[in-house]
Assembly symmetry: C2
Homo-oligomer: 607 residues x 2
Amino acid sequence: MAQQLNRFKVDLREIQFAIFEHLGMADVLSRPPYASWGEDECRAVLSELSRFCREVVGPTNAVGDREACRFEGGRVYTPEGFKEAWRRLYDEGWQALGVPEEHGGQGAPRILQAAFTELLSGANAAFAMYPGLAFAAAELIENCGTPEQTERYARPMFAGKIGGTMCLTEPHAGSDVGAATSSARPLPDGTYAIQGTKIFISCGDHDLTDDIVHLVLARIDGAAIGTKGLSLFIVPTTRDGKPNDVKVASIEHKMGIKASSTCVLAFGEDDACVGELVGGVPHQGMKQMFRMMNYARIAVGLQSLGVASSAYLNALEYARERKQGASVKSWKDATAPRATIVEHPDVRRMLIDMKARVEGLRALIYKLALHGDRAAVLSGKDDETVAYHLGQVELLTPLVKAWGSDQAFRIAETAIQVYGGAGYLQDHPVEQYCRDAKIFSIYEGTNHIQALDLVGRKLGQGAGRHTQEFLGDVAKFIERHKAHPVLGPSVAALREAHGSVGMVAMQLLGWFQAGEVERVPLAANRFLAMMADMAVGWLLLDQAAVALEKQATVPAEHPDHAFYEGKRHAAVYFAQNVLPDVAAAAKVILAADRSALDIPETAFATV
Amino acid sequence: MAQQLNRFKVDLREIQFAIFEHLGMADVLSRPPYASWGEDECRAVLSELSRFCREVVGPTNAVGDREACRFEGGRVYTPEGFKEAWRRLYDEGWQALGVPEEHGGQGAPRILQAAFTELLSGANAAFAMYPGLAFAAAELIENCGTPEQTERYARPMFAGKIGGTMCLTEPHAGSDVGAATSSARPLPDGTYAIQGTKIFISCGDHDLTDDIVHLVLARIDGAAIGTKGLSLFIVPTTRDGKPNDVKVASIEHKMGIKASSTCVLAFGEDDACVGELVGGVPHQGMKQMFRMMNYARIAVGLQSLGVASSAYLNALEYARERKQGASVKSWKDATAPRATIVEHPDVRRMLIDMKARVEGLRALIYKLALHGDRAAVLSGKDDETVAYHLGQVELLTPLVKAWGSDQAFRIAETAIQVYGGAGYLQDHPVEQYCRDAKIFSIYEGTNHIQALDLVGRKLGQGAGRHTQEFLGDVAKFIERHKAHPVLGPSVAALREAHGSVGMVAMQLLGWFQAGEVERVPLAANRFLAMMADMAVGWLLLDQAAVALEKQATVPAEHPDHAFYEGKRHAAVYFAQNVLPDVAAAAKVILAADRSALDIPETAFATV
């Protein structure tokens, strides 16, 4: 039972490799704003964090799924163990990692915060959303709010005294946020009377804090239509000790993340819901909310990573223990000794595929986070390099969210297949991972919205500079390693993928310019996948190059020797088995088939 | 609520097209053994069947999922409505469709039985397993049993008076059936004392019939190890009016198909479990069971098709009703009218992708079924043609099971994405379809077992004749239509895929011959997908060629005009967007990367 309840697994060595050996964060350590963070501090935090997530949070995951949130008497109650996990998360200082020092936090580098979010989400994806949203909402207020708002709301939110949400979606405004009809009527004291219904509000109610601050997008009477007319409001559930007019109408019954409440919230049903303009500035709602949305999109990538990684490691453990059939070499010999399934080629294929995708995704997200750290360290010192780093953060965000979430689902699915029939049962964690992961491709902007963000905004941002710099970084790697004795043929596969990405990017621009704009969304998802595959192939090969150098200095019996060997195989596997699909996808996009556009609506089916 | 409960959808026109216009079953109608089946009878049955499945069975699906099977006092109870659906299924004669006339059935052509299984499974995949297993077990007894066994067991099973199961899997014998340790000790009266534990027994207990006949694989004391030593036993839950020693130890809690009981069965715990040898012949268990397994594999393909088809049609309905955002052509204009999401290119891409896969899978399975019908009609009249048809049934079975089940999961996932956040909720049917469908790739032989069956047995069967005939059929189509005014470029894509499949098939044989046998399982799943994609691409193009001819004879305002137009677009979409992957997959297989084999077990992770 203990084993069943505590199923979160983490490969700390791999996380350390990504941070210290591959990406190398030495240049941001011990420098403002991370003056108090040296490598030893980072390593110690990672190690303790991993223990905390395994021992304290992990055991709440299956329970949370079985029990789910309850909605009773208009209030939401979280499953058993959530209050205790919440308390310890804040009491022991974990949630303070990312909080700025001036607000009582530890101001850790973002790459460490990323590891924190990955591990907490891997331990319990549904639970991690409560502190994650409270933190992100507080950060928005700290950045966009008035000093009074920061003091009154952000500080206690950072400290776990008040929860937080982001309220965008309405019944007829999902991907189309600008269609929101929630309204804000100015009141004499400078506050606003808020009215409207918001749906799909994650953590919209719970019993982990007494109060919750809702950040609500609404339209001040007379403001413009569309996203431009939206303003952002702080709507606390309690104001001046009295309840504000926010009602939980219902919670949803979902395929997964059942322990994360998904609420329908009614604001101002009794015309007594009071909101404060964030920062006192009207019509800046979308701009302000984008800060939180960008954070949330990266967080979905980390959530995906945490779940995918634990799915992989659980499947690996099962494959090492479960015996079934004989080795392929004596397949038809009924007297041959039974083999563990990790010996079977197809199981190995599934495992190395999961390994490459998990570790590639980790490299991609951590790289994004370290771009942020480098921008922070160089801020005010080297504007051009800061712009480069911030540009990469922008460019990689949709890849991290969309590719990451698709991988999480795919990896959880593969993990089920490794287990066989056992994987379909609640006795093992992987079926829950699969159900939990499905939402990742939908919320915080569907993966198609991410693909449109990539092709419609990010590719051309800064006159295409971010894209050029990204492709340039990959090209430099290819040039340096094209004759690598082990990785050379795989670098050649990367070169082909790199060429394909560049070619399709140009074609997409061409379609924009030619006014054939409807071809762009048709190709967008496939292009995003191409670019992410290429980026991940690059980072895995980069890791392998580092690993092979290090391996030469390590005796064969040292555990690191096998670890570095794994890096090499994962990279070559990905280059030889996945990267060829990038060129194939380019061929499909460039052939520009219009069937999906041309088929008449009545031709889809006769019902 | 009514709408919510009755969500099974079917496109009867498409089924009729596949059966009568595309595959053309005229040559098997009104001939023995289908002498009483003319086209009118078939059409009438399809129409009434579709109504029965929508109105009677469909409403039990969501209820069944929410309620699930209960295990109380050692017995399993099915969810509300199952008993009534079972009763009507037999009373109204639906389940008798496939029963031979001499046993009180209607002896319908297999293609009609296939449609029956598709529709019943689409309406409620979990429910359909109870009559499906009873039928398949009865058919096995009718074919392999003694006349007395047929009379005593098969007839009442055909009539819905007794249930049926297949008991292969044991705790340490899943894919490796030959490792089974259940034993059979001869008793003086010619029966056997059965002992052993079987797991994952679908419909292993229920309250739809008083008795159940378990078909149990066990080893007679002293028999050979491995599959060769297994015998098959009829183990009824009641014998001569007294309970047999079969206990339900527990039922599993699963990700989906929750209304299908999955049992752990203990045989002979009190040493009082009596079984009869099927046909009175020992050591023929695997051979006898293979009949049922082949049937079950095709049935999984049909289950996949039914669920996938309803997932697609539900997503289509939602896309036609749901408004969100403006047309892509006025994307940034907040004043533009809101569009239904079926107008958005990415939604159209998902819909046409689902349509092509659903209709391609249907064509593939119905084709398999009609091969069976043609073999039955020509039996004893034209041995060579019968051998051709039976060879195609053999070859296509693993494709239907593995490719079909993978598609079902993928299509249900895509359907969720079409719905967006709503798809993640139990308010809509698609999340259940996705959960239900995950088991299809695992049970009745995992999809890797199917791939091994394809590359290790079927490809080379009859000295490779079945494969050559299959590839020859495709080549003939390519030759005939290579200059088709509309489909020509798509036929060219098929030609490339066809060449790739042939090339990889040769390479696989080469690896067998060179003793590099471990490369084969590594490539097997990918090869199966290549071959299935190619087969489906061919059948869709064949359908399109037929549809375009017919379309020319139909006025533009006739609903068939749009229907035929849809056939054309689905085929071209698949050829231009999916078939290029076949050549890419061939490239990957032929590059023969060994990373998955070479990575040391310790290198997968450090935990």
